[in-house]
């Protein structure tokens, strides 16, 4: 049901763009006003969210330690999974963000109890989620980078190089970018497991289906533009450059699919800062990953530490138990006579 709501929502967005830019002839609004506003909302929303997180302090250093600590000199420390210095922590974060290291650990529980005699609970390696998540995210990244050719004149060499590698298989005309198919595979897998794995379906919300379907729709509309409608890229670049340099010209002769694509991207930009997609920023701020395991070595300051919280004092303890302590021959600060 939640998946269907999300699908209807995405289709509605497609219809809005088709009608708005097509039938209603509001090309200027859909080419300039909507994406411009969306971009501002994205940037402001993203920054505001990060500032909002950063405003809350990190009272305690609580890294999840995933390997041997630094202790005695002759015991090798697992520096990447249990860092004790800044550079080691940076390495942990780098691996986390670039290789999805924690997700790579993933296992799947298998419970065999059919015969009931020798029940086995096993944990088998399960890297599918990691693989498709990597495919999805890297394809997304490369696609975003490739699109920078529309924003920059002249097109930087690095982007030309990315395009070259991405189309290295040289199949289909216009030449197929591999990332276009990979992002469909990645997002398709992520969606399929939500739909077909009962546990995943149980925890999934509209908040989960909607962005996936939106991104799939963006990819599909983009591919339609390139491979089927074969839109006029130069005309689009003029629009985009106009948007970034504030030289707005009424767009002419661009296929309607462009406006659909752009409207879906605008929706994603607006939706981004208010959604789980902010894991892009949040992953950098997670206190179980971005801190060294070093509070036995170095002091960490908690800004709201309350010095008024004191332990139940020894004096109060001795006052309560002085007699029996005295009788038991335990050392005392004040013997019963002094106290009396």
């Amino acid at each position: 049901m939640k998946a269907i709501y999300s699908l209807i929502l995405v289709l509605a967005l497609v219809v809005i763009a088709t009608l708005g830019a097509g039938a209603a002839k509001m090309q200027t609004i859909f080419a300039y006003c909507v994406p411009g506003t969306a971009f501002v909302i994205f940037v402001v929303g993203f920054v505001a969210k990060i500032i909002g997180w950063a405003k809350s302090p990190v009272p305690f250093r609580i890294p999840t330690t995933g390997g041997q600590q630094q202790s005695l000199d002759w015991i090798p420390q697992n520096k990447w999974d249990n860092p004790s210095t800044g550079p080691q922590t940076a390495m942990r974060m780098f691996l986390e963000i670039v290789t999805f290291r924690s997700l790579f650990r993933n296992t799947k529980v298998v419970l065999k109890h059919d015969d009931g005699k020798n029940p086995v609970v096993a944990y088998v390696s399960n890297k599918w989620l990691w693989l498709f998540a990597i495919l999805f995210h890297y394809s997304f990244l490369i696609i975003v980078l490739r699109h920078m050719r529309l924003f920059l004149q002249p097109v930087p060499q690095v982007i030309v190089a990315i395009e070259f590698v991405d189309s290295v298989l040289q199949i289909y005309t216009p030449i197929l970018y591999q990332t276009d198919t990979l992002i469909l595979a990645g997002a398709g897998f992520l969606l399929a497991r939500r739909l077909f794995d009962a546990k995943l379906r149980y925890i999934s919300l509209v908040n989960d289906y909607f962005p996936l379907m939106l991104i799939l729709a963006i990819a599909l509309s983009g591919m339609y533009m390139r491979y089927i409608a074969k839109v006029d890229i130069m005309a689009i670049k003029e629009v985009v450059m106009g948007l970034t340099t504030f030289h707005f010209k009424a767009p002419v002769g661009i296929d309607i699919s462009f406006y659909v694509h752009l409207f879906l991207v605008s929706t994603l930009l607006v939706y981004f800062p208010f959604s789980k997609l902010m894991h892009l920023g949040g992953v950098f701020l997670s206190p179980t990953r971005n801190l060294p395991n070093d509070t036995r070595m170095h002091h960490h300051e908690n800004p709201w530490n309350n010095p008024a919280i004191k332990p139940h004092s020894y004096e109060a303890y001795e006052d309560e138990f002085r007699e029996p302590m005295f009788e038991a021959g335990l050392p005392l600060e004040k013997n019963p006579e002094e106290a009396a």
């Binding site: 809350s56 330690t65 390997g67 296992t107 009931g116 009962a198 989960d208 701020l285 990953r289 919280i309």
Partner: protein, 544 residues
């Protein structure tokens, strides 16, 4: 043990298919056996007096009743408390926002693996709170409600929190696998703090916390009784070794203050571990003292509220100062070391007196640089250093009847990273050692299912279910290698793993690390040993 299913029946009862109703519509089950008993009125009142602002609404109540006798403004208290914690903890704020519900954590929780209740999937456990976050604090959640997984605070939600945040042992296994490091322990801690504000609590946590505050230890052992216990142990050691040793208590002027969980002073098999410490200290001539005022290494404040944790923990430095000790040696414990390693100096570092110094092993000269700030060393680190420098005379053959495996405690694993030190010690005192399967040890270790204050009898069904992953891994090495002993460095484990092993892997006994060390340890001037610390005959001395 309460009336619970037999192991094979329990295994067969596990079903990972979620119910047909969505989780927000699935009613909660508050029947007996599903929850731990609420705290006794006098304990709550005592703690309210000792640590103001943490506990509220003292009363006698029963979770089975429809009326939980909440204060009229309970909703306001909880929502405001939630807001306050979002501003105090970046962890909470980030964790409320960034979960993508990828489900990587879902089958990592021992309670889910052994029970199949979807609300025990870490992602859903956190959603119990996240849904309120969305409903109370985000615009989209307020407008769109359930469509975006949002809901508002209601009494049933509070009851659901009580059920499921007391079915989390704060073991952090889920956090290891989370691509964003979302830590359910952190979420559970916050939820429990909020529950305390309106008087929802469990006795198994608050009574130890109150005891610890008043008598110095969770078990409520008063100073003179503590002395008697130590005397008993000294007597037993004399019976076993022929040596009578002097154990300083509350004495000033010693170099080291030794603090261990009071569980070691009270029941089998912890007492053997305690005897092990005493024998070790005697063997190396350590200049140390015990304290009755700081006679607790553990800290049930960790399972309660950060202020409670700080107040209990502060005794360690206060007592080191009063007695003039240079550093603190800590005994075998799990959650104690989460506190010492990740919270202690931050909370109470300012209490350290000028006499405290970076710990140096007086026998080997090793400087414990990793403890230069807290001035506190784990005894497994200490003993590993002694053995590495050949300072202990060990006779492994006394443990030759033992085929051991090692249980990594959650907190020393994922809140510290102490893996090699205890294994090194263990392998130097026993000949036969086999680790459990890779995915169940070290950083991936499974909880005993009784941590974070849940080691109480009335929830035995939940505990045994949660104990399945550990129990099954233990059974595996028992069948494959004949393992008959599981050693650990955690006082809660030494209590909880016994029923767990009896249930899932009968025939395996549980020991502390230093029990095995002391069995192998040759003391100067001791008589020939014919029995182990449990006063069972050593190999070769069995009666015909």
């Amino acid at each position: 043990m309460a009336n619970i299913l037999k192991p094979d029946e329990m295994i067969r009862s596990i079903n990972y298919t979620p119910p047909a109703t969505e989780w927000m519509e699935t009613p909660i089950d508050l029947s007996p056996g599903r929850f731990a008993y609420p705290a006794k009125l006098d304990k709550v009142e005592y703690l309210m007096h000792e640590v103001p602002g943490v506990f509220g609404n003292p009363r006698t109540w029963n979770p089975e009743d429809a009326d939980w006798k909440l204060p009229s403004n309970w909703k306001e208290i909880v929502v405001n408390g939630f807001k306050e914690r979002l501003d105090k903890y970046r962890s909470l704020k980030v964790f409320m926002d960034i979960c993508v519900r990828c489900g990587a954590c879902a089958d990592k929780c021992h309670f889910f693996i052994g029970g199949g209740d979807p609300k025990n999937m870490p992602v859903l456990r956190a959603e119990l709170m996240r849904s309120i976050y969305r409903g109370e604090f985000t615009l989209a959640g307020k407008i769109l409600g359930k469509l975006t997984g949002a809901r508002v605070m209601e009494e049933d939600v509070l009851k659901e929190w009580f059920l499921y945040f007391y079915q989390c042992t704060e073991c952090r296994r889920c956090s290891l696998y989370c691509p964003y490091g979302i830590d359910t322990a952190e979420v559970t801690m916050m939820a429990r703090e909020l529950l305390h504000l309106v008087g929802i609590n469990i006795n198994w946590i608050l009574e130890p916390a109150a005891n610890c505050t008043r008598t110095g230890n969770h078990l409520g052992i008063q100073p003179h009784a503590f002395k008697d216990i130590v005397e008993f142990m000294v007597d037993d050691i004399e019976t076993i070794t022929g040596k009578r040793m002097n154990v300083p208590l509350n004495e000033k002027g010693h170099e080291v203050l030794f603090i261990t969980p009071s569980g070691d002073a009270f029941a089998d098999p912890g007492i053997y571990t305690f005897m092990g410490y005493l024998m070790l200290f005697d063997a190396i001539g350590l200049d140390y003292t015990l304290s009755t005022y700081a006679s607790e290494g553990g800290n049930f404040g960790l399972f309660t509220h950060s202020d409670m944790m700080k107040a209990i923990n502060g005794k360690m430095y206060s007592e080191a100062n009063r007695l003039g000790c240079k550093w603190i040696l800590g005994g075998e414990c799990g959650h104690m070391w989460r506190v010492v390693n990740q919270y202690m100096d931050t909370m109470n570092g300012s209490l350290q007196g000028p006499q405290m110094q970076t710990p140096v092993n007086p026998i080997t000269g090793t400087v414990f640089k990793n403890a230069k700030q807290t001035k506190m060393v784990h005894i497994a680190e200490f003993t590993a250093d002694l053995i590495k420098h050949n300072k202990l005379k060990l006779d492994k053959s006394r443990n030759s009847d033992i085929i051991a495996t090692w249980h990594d405690s959650c907190n020393t694993a994922r809140g510290m990273g102490m893996f090699e030190e205890p294994r090194y010690v263990l392998q130097n005192v026993v000949d036969q050692f086999y680790d459990m399967p890779t995915n169940t040890i070290r950083e991936q270790t499974f909880c005993c299912a009784g941590g974070s204050g849940l080691n109480t009898e009335e929830i035995m069904d939940i505990r045994m279910r949660g104990g399945l992953p550990r129990g099954n891994a233990l059974k595996y090495v028992q069948d494959k290698h004949g393992v008959n002993t599981m050693a650990c460095v955690c006082a809660i484990d030494r209590a909880t793993l016994i029923p767990l092993a009896d249930y899932w892997a009968p025939g395996v006994k549980i020991t502390g690390l230093h029990e095995l060390v002391a069995n192998a340890l040759i003391l100067d001037g001791e008589e020939e040993r014919t029995m182990n610390l449990r006063q069972e005959p050593l190999p070769g001395f069995e009666e015909e």
